[in-house]
């Protein structure tokens, strides 16, 4: 033990305490393995989730999002701190491991670090430890003094997380100091005993500590050395075993969360993985009602959340005071999992999640805009979980009255308004549309190769019909041979599915799929991003689908479209990215490119644009839902446009149009702000006949050549 031998007589001060160190090692590792095994129990009882495919793509994502910390710079300050700490941890891993082993095997050297790499590695890690230590100090000051709003815990969600966060920062800081003191005392001891002295990196924490303790008596140095070792070892194992009780568990789980993350945007998980549509009737219960009905990956997500608050910071529902914060969807599920599957003792009886862990309004409040998922550095999934919880509520008949009518109307009439099927195509009969050619109703006997899928709101809402008319006129002017399904089109079912009514969605999808196939078209165009996303990701076996902005951008680039100059010079346009065109399908540039081609069009960007676009309030059934909220998302969005200096908001989605138009009125900004659909802007400025001219030119050239 310490003090039995004179310090000058032993080559390694740690040797006498080896058995103590070994005991701590064994206890620490055993504890950790026990806790992790307990944490894995619910995952073994969870629903299946096939995530073992495409290993190369998944490894690529690990390199990008885990090792490369891809999402972190989206929050510059916190992101930089995290990147530094993460890099520090990665660098220090071998050093920490070596230190731990040295306590029981004094001559241990990490393979690869025995030669000249060793001292270089030591220098690098001296700095790494110093940087991590400084980051802990800065992070603690940030938490305690500056208190960024996104870390606040609203009273309904319990106590502040700051004490725990600062405690963890403290533990890591102690680990860094202990590590540095261990290195410093070793070096100081070796110097005093005339042995080869390790080089400590100039101005690093060990270097400074060595200056402080350099002249202390050898016995004190020995004490410091063994003490530092012990503190390092105990703190290391304490952290290791404490992490699975809170946010720091992501240190262990994030690698797996990222590797197994969802690969396809815009899609939804099926009701049950591995159950074919036609066998769904045999599934006893739909969706997630109890914790075990989450998939194992979704449970892993709960463990991996680092409580950084970026999801909630970007969530439009949270921003307008709806009772939803994606952050607490995860935190509450994790707390429940810990209580439901305690570390000591058996799993206790589960409770239904909705009504106990979550409120109904919380689950209906989500617009599935995807802002949370876009932001999450750990790629935690939210939309699939929300939809699964809704599937469970639908299955139990637990649906707000405001949504029951439109759902019933969708079932009997194929649209949420309960309007007559035969009137679905009436908008196309107006003289304004007929100017650029009659819109064909495709019944299988036409020669049209392109289907314009209109969807319910554009078909029936008298304001949105203007988008339909503009789209038809554009397609006509571009010389497309297109038509609509008319009365045989039903709602795409995009929101029906996202509100959890899978069987109704399947009925709508099957009907439309048959109608589309019968029409004999080769491609589909739509001006509704929700229909676009449904046809692209939720439907199978239908021709390829494009949003009108993609078609337009291509035609503009090919020189097939010319625009008249914007006459009103006072107009300043801002493009609002619809969630299902932007975030879910990555169409950001096409609509902007089209707008920028219009001569004299002044365009500004809102602060929140592209993948950080702020949802207008949600589409489809969300228009019928009556959320509890302090203000409308649309109003917030309209103010953002005004702040950017715009007076015309251009969007490319009928639902954005409804919500923003209403919001302009609610905000009292009529006359100061207006909203237009991309198709309306294009239709207004398009020079007609360009296509015909080009065709004639081509024909003449061919004849002449």
């Amino acid at each position: 033990m310490v003090g039995i031998y004179p310090p000058s007589q032993v080559t390694d001060w740690l040797v006498p305490s080896r058995s103590l160190f070994l005991t701590i090692h064994v206890l620490g590792v055993a504890c950790f393995l026990y806790i992790v095994a307990k944490r894995l129990v619910p995952l073994t009882r969870a629903e299946r989730d096939p995530r073992f495919d495409r290993p190369l793509i998944r490894l690529g994502r690990v390199l990008k999002f885990w090792l490369g910390q891809w999402k972190h710079p989206r929050y510059k300050f916190a992101g930089t701190i995290h990147i530094l700490v993460f890099a520090g941890f990665i660098l220090l891993a071998a050093r920490a491991f070596t230190v731990l082993i040295v306590g029981v095997s004094e001559n241990f050297v990490m393979p690869g670090l025995s030669g000249r790499a060793g001292p270089i590695y030591d220098i690098v890690t001296d700095y790494a430890a110093t940087i991590v230590f400084l980051c802990m100090v800065v992070a603690a000051i940030r938490r305690l003094v500056f208190k960024p709003a996104r870390y606040a815990v609203p009273a309904k969600y319990g106590k502040s997380h700051t004490p725990d966060a600062v405690f963890l920062l403290g533990l890591i800081a102690i680990l860094m100091v202990a590590d540095s003191l261990f290195a410093a005392s070793n070096a100081a001891g070796h110097a005093q005993r005339g042995q080869p002295v390790e080089t400590l990196a100039t101005l690093s924490l060990p270097w400074m500590l060595k200056i402080v303790i350099g002249s202390m008596p050898l016995a004190t140095l020995w004490g410091l050395n063994v003490g530092a070792y012990l503190v390092h070892e105990v703190t290391f194992y304490f952290l290791l075993c404490y992490r699975p009780f809170g946010i720091q568990f992501h240190v262990e789980t994030s690698l797996f969360s990222v590797y197994f993350s969802k690969l396809e945007r815009g899609t939804l998980k099926p009701v049950r993985w591995g159950v074919r549509d036609e066998h769904l009737d045999q599934v006893k219960s739909f969706g997630v009602k109890t914790f075990e009905e989450f998939t194992w990956k979704h449970m892993l997500d709960f463990y991996s959340c680092a409580d950084c608050g970026r999801c909630a910071d970007n969530c439009p529902a949270n921003a307008v005071g709806r009772p939803l914060s994606p952050r607490f969807i995860t935190i509450k599920a994790r707390d429940y999992a810990f209580q439901h599957y305690p570390v000591f003792g058996k799993a206790n009886n589960g409770k239904p999640l909705v009504g106990n862990v979550y409120s109904e309004d919380e689950i209906w409040s989500c617009t599935t805009c995807g802002a949370c998922e876009e932001e999450c550095p750990l790629l935690v999934e939210y939309i699939d979980k929300i939809v699964d919880l809704r599937r469970g509520m639908i299955d139990d008949g637990n649906v707000p009255q405001s949504l029951q009518k439109p759902l019933k109307a969708l079932e009997s009439r194929g649209n949420p308004y309960g309007k007559m099927e035969k009137k679905r195509g009436d908008w196309a009969k107006s003289p304004e549309v007929q100017q650029s050619g009659k819109v064909k109703v495709l019944d299988g006997n036409n020669d049209a190769d392109t289907l314009y899928f209109v969807d319910s709101i554009t078909s029936y809402d008298d304001r949105m019909q203007s988008i339909g008319r503009a789209t038809a006129r554009i397609l006509g002017s571009l010389g497309k041979n297109f038509g609509i399904l008319g009365a045989s089109e039903k709602d795409s079912g995009h929101e029906v599915r996202r509100f959890g009514e899978e069987m109704l969605f399947m009925a709508l999808r099957n009907h439309n799929t048959e109608a589309i196939k019968a029409s004999g078209v080769q491609r589909i165009v739509t001006a509704d991003p929700h229909a676009y996303n449904a046809l692209k990701h939720d439907y199978k076996d239908v021709p390829p689908v494009e949003h009108i902005s993609e078609v337009l951008a291509r035609e503009v680039r090919a020189g097939n479209v010319r625009f008249n100059r914007v006459e009103d010079e006072a107009r300043v346009y801002a493009y609002h990215d619809p969630c299902y065109l932007g975030r879910h399908n990555q169409v950001y540039d096409d609509p902007r490119d089209v707008l920028d081609t219009i001569p004299g069009l002044k365009r500004v960007e809102m602060k929140r644009s592209r993948d950080r676009s702020f949802c207008c309030g949600g589409g489809g059934l969300m228009l019928f839902y009556e959320p509890k909220e302090e203000q409308r998302m649309g109003v917030v969005r309209v103010r953002m446009a005004a702040e950017a200096g715009a007076n015309v908001i251009v969007t490319a989605c009928p639902f954005c149009m409804v919500n923003i138009e209403d919001a302009i009125k609610v905000a009292g900004m009529e006359g100061k702000m207006s909203v237009m659909d991309l198709t309306e802007v294009v239709d207004q400025h398009m020079v007609r006949g360009v296509c015909d001219e080009k065709r004639e030119e081509l024909e003449t050239a061919t004849v002449g050549g």
């Binding site: 029951q404 009997s412 007559m420 008298d462």
Partner: protein
Amino acid sequence: MEILVCARRVPDTSENEIELNAAGNDIERDELVYSVNEPDNYAVEEALQIRDRVGGNVTVVTIGGEDDEEILRRELAMGANHAVLVSDDAFSGSDGRGIATILRDFVRKGHYGLILTGVQADDGAAQVGGMLAAMLDYPFASLVNSIAVEDGKLKVSREIEGGNREINEIDLPCVLSIQTGINEPRYVGMRGIRQVASVPIPTLGAAALGVNQSAVGEAAAKVRRVDYFVPALSKEAEMLHGSREENASKVLELVAAKGGLK
């Protein structure tokens, strides 16, 4: 408690454009979509909630034809224990009294402690509940918007002027007509209906129920519909034909002009 709910299939007013037929004696019934009469659906939900509190069974009955089976499936999917279709050519053309007579004979075949109807059918005249109670010599409470079960009796309330509530005690067995808003009916989706697709729904005719055929049907009806008409446009009525915005501002202007806005 054995609870019977009398329900009816009606054209869904929120999903149809109701127009008169050419003869002017009925509405145009092509392309109509139907659903459970809304107050009847609330009555079924209330019955299910009472059953879940005190035990027993809920039976839903409707008088009609094969097409009317769809609402019975929907109510079975909601959670009703039994559903019965009462159907006979002899019943067609019955007036309210005829319908009440058929239901009376149906009730006598069972042992129901509580009978619920909707307060009124969308295309009806709110007659059947009261008449059924009288024919059975049961007490009757109408426009009920809450029910509490007590020993051998119920406490029911109805809304009176000014949003106030009147509470009444009523002995069992009894007949109640249920007002919408008494509860929040659960949602029934396609999946629920598919799950009860194979549950048999018995059909009972006049003979099985012992209905006196001379008391029901068109011949026995003492209330006969003679006409449907659209009120003629009076001189004071003004139709607005502008755009939505124009109409809205015109309405505002008119209301203000008539002193409706202070």
